[in-house]
């Protein structure tokens, strides 16, 4: 009951935020929400299955490019591209997952990285279709979603839906099956669970959520760039999850807020942001391996 009270308070605060924050802080808040959705999507696979994907940028960027291309080439209104972006990202995840989830640990990580870089290279070189390294620019999401407050609420809704989805899956038999496969694949198989099917489903759902984050990024940035698909984008989700605590439901979101806010603060003052980030990560890994969520008593997801 007490937890629910805090949750409602947090929700009220999040809803009131656009009316309290000045323009720029709101822009940063939207970015934090987008990364929060992306990191939560990534962390679903990481926490439930123990598989560390280094290729989630492909799904983030896949969603973003689907939205951008539909807006630019087919003149679709922004919001209508959401289902397409999610579907495209899911299909991409299905394809990459089909080859990757059979492998384990470092092989899985390297394979997802390689596939994502492949997708990046295609987008980066295909000038006639994707605009190559120039990206797709000048995408205005229309009067409504062009407004920062509206976009904030859209991002908040999608993030809340994504988080709820992940939470429900965690408590569903599907989640139990995934954790069984994570903890002991041989025994899981012995009781009749097919690791391949479960892992592929988890990976695909996670990719779909990442695609929704990419969809949001296009409206915020008014453009899409190959950087969205580059491995550094995948690293952002990983860093956010580690920063916040991969074992807690809210961990990746918390890490995202800290990552984005700290980044905005430091980058506006010095060009040594990577140094600061490195020190923060070092301190966390050494002294707070549970991430920032570990400060709250280290309680795992509830």
């Amino acid at each position: 009951m007490k937890a629910r009270g805090w949750l409602l308070l947090l929700l009220a605060a999040l809803l009131a935020l656009p009316w309290l924050l000045p323009g720029y802080a709101l822009e940063v808040a939207i970015q934090a929400l987008i990364l929060a959705l992306f990191a939560t999507a990534f962390n679903f696979v990481f926490a439930e299955t123990g598989l560390l994907s280094f290729g989630h940028a492909a799904f983030f960027g896949g969603g973003a490019y689907t939205t951008a291309l539909l807006m630019q080439r087919a003149g679709w209104p922004y919001l209508l591209t959401l289902p397409a972006a999610v579907l495209a990202a899911a299909l991409l995840a299905l394809a990459i997952g089909f080859f990757s989830v059979r492998t384990s640990r470092i092989y899985f990580t390297m394979l997802t990285l390689a596939f994502a870089q492949l997708v990046w290279a295609v987008v980066h070189k295909w000038y006639d279709f994707t605009g190559g390294d120039n990206g797709i620019t000048g995408l205005h999401p229309g009067a409504l979603w062009g407004d920062a407050r509206a976009l904030y609420y859209l991002a908040l809704v999608l993030f809340a839906l994504g988080l709820t989805f992940v939470w429900r899956l965690h408590h569903a038999p599907f989640g139990y099956a995934l954790r069984a496969i994570r903890d002991n694949p041989a025994r899981a198989e012995a009781v009749g669970l097919s690791p391949f099917g479960y892992l592929l489903a988890a990976f695909t759902l996670s990719g779909a959520l990442a695609g929704a984050a990419g969809f949001l990024q296009v409206a915020w940035q008014r453009s899409a760039f190959p950087d969205f698909l580059y491995w550094t984008k995948s690293a952002e989700a990983i860093i956010a999850a580690i920063l916040g605590g991969a074992q807690a439901l809210f961990g990746p979101a918390l890490g995202s807020v800290v990552f984005v806010e700290l980044g905005a603060f430091v980058q506006s003052r010095t060009e040594y942001w990577p140094l600061v980030l490195g020190l923060v990560l070092l301190a966390l890994v050494l002294f707070l391996p549970q991430g920032l969520a570990g400060l709250g008593g280290g309680r795992a997801r509830g």
């Binding site: 720029y24 822009e27 970015q31 120039n134 940035q221 950087d227 506006s268």
Partner: protein
């Protein structure tokens, strides 16, 4: 807590009451200040610093001092966020600078949306001005003009077997395409024998160099720049590339960031350019600028430092002419009377009203070693008149 609030309120009141005589004109300058190409951003920043110092020493613009906030633009998404911060938080009146082409394409629509004029001094993709955005201006020449100038030189040469080696991304591809299309128009009997596309930022060029030499070209076009040009040059010399070909042309090879690291090892007789060359024009104004720059920073101004300096001075002239800092007044000042003509230290700059692209004489020259400098300089200098670089635009005016 209460005391702090009071102090803050008092401070705000002092500020609001106009205790500071004239409110500064705020300019947000975005440059590449970190990473592999930070030496470009740093020299651009120095050019801006010198310009602003001079402007403020003379009483500012319209009697208001100029205040510049420098920001590292990084990659496009960081740049968009920083641009929004400058606009929304720092309330800048203008955005300025930008080294990277992809960053310029990302920031331009944002600046335009918030109606904050953006003055670009370095990023050279022709696409920027072909977006025809009303509040976006470029005060330096772009890559297409460089390629066309290179083609005009190439057409005068007797060589028919041409090859290319360029960085494998938009700038390298567009430069070569513009160059070879133009050259074939001017001289239909040229033949392309080899195209080499090393990755942008490569360190090993040996396989590309040998492939290039196997094709036996008479002449080579290259848009390799910065560290890429330096690595390529250092590796091509021992292979004897520059001895086997008769003609080498590179639109960005005249940058000090390329010639200084090569030092005395740079081959002579390469036809190179930079958008500004510190020894040209030989006017008092330019000599004074180079001296002041050298005294202040201990280095000669690179082309992008010169462009940043001139761009800031040109913006100041536009604001003076407009008599106001309102975006529409400044836009009108840039466009009026057939486009603003501004006499900068690097010569006359003309702002074409339709696409907000500046046209100016382009400085080319053949590399040559002298006793006066520890690096190759351009001698003799060949100037391409601005009128020969004017290409059609799709922007309507």
């Amino acid at each position: 807590m209460k005391r702090w609030t009071l102090a803050l309120a008092a401070a705000l009141m002092v500020y609001g009451s106009g205790a500071f005589a004239a409110e500064p004109i705020k300019i947000g300058a975005l440059y590449m200040l970190s990473g592999n190409f930070a030496n470009y951003g740093t020299s651009s920043k120095q050019g801006v610093q010198l310009a602003v110092e001079e402007i403020n020493a003379k009483g500012g613009i319209l009697g208001r001092p100029v205040e510049v906030i420098f920001v590292d633009h990084g990659k496009p998404d960081q740049a968009v966020r920083e641009a929004k911060r400058l606009i929304l938080e720092n309330k800048v009146n203008f955005l300025f600078g930008i080294d990277s082409s992809s960053v310029s394409l990302a920031v331009a629509p944002v600046a335009d949306e918030y109606k904050v004029p953006l003055i670009v001094t370095h990023a050279a993709t022709p696409r920027l001005t072909e977006m025809c955005l009303p509040y976006v201006f470029r005060t330096s020449n772009n890559a297409r003009m460089d390629s066309w100038a290179a083609a005009a030189f190439a057409a005068k040469q007797p060589y028919k077997r041409w090859a290319n080696i360029g960085p494998d991304y938009e700038f390298g591809r567009v430069s070569w395409e513009d160059f070879i299309t133009r050259l074939k128009e001017l001289k239909p009997d040229v033949e392309v024998v080899s195209e080499q596309w090393p990755k942008f930022g490569s360190s090993d060029y040996s396989s590309y160099i040998t492939a290039l030499m196997r094709a036996k070209p008479e002449a080579v076009f290259s848009a390799l720049w910065g560290g890429d040009f330096v690595s390529f040059g250092k590796q091509a010399i021992p292979f004897g590339l520059f001895k086997t070909i008769k003609f080498y042309v590179n639109p960005t090879g005249g940058a000090l960031q390329a010639l200084e690291p090569l030092g005395k090892s740079a081959p002579e007789g390469l036809l190179v350019s930079a958008r500004y060359w510190f020894l040209y024009p030989e006017t008092e104004a330019n000599k004074a600028f180079v001296k002041k720059f050298h005294d202040k920073f201990g280095a000669y101004p690179s082309y992008n430092a010169g462009e940043a300096y001139s761009g800031m001075m040109m913006l100041a002239a536009a604001i003076e002419k407009a008599g106001s800092i309102s975006p529409d007044a400044v836009k009108a000042a840039f466009e009026a009377d057939g486009g603003l003509k501004f006499e900068s230290v690097e010569g006359l700059k003309w702002m074409r009203p339709a696409d907000h692209q500046v046209f100016e004489d382009l400085v080319w020259g053949y590399t040559k070693h002298t006793d006066a400098y520890p690096f190759a300089i351009l001698d003799p200098i060949v100037v391409v008149p601005a009128k020969d670089t004017i290409y059609p635009t799709k922007c309507a005016k």
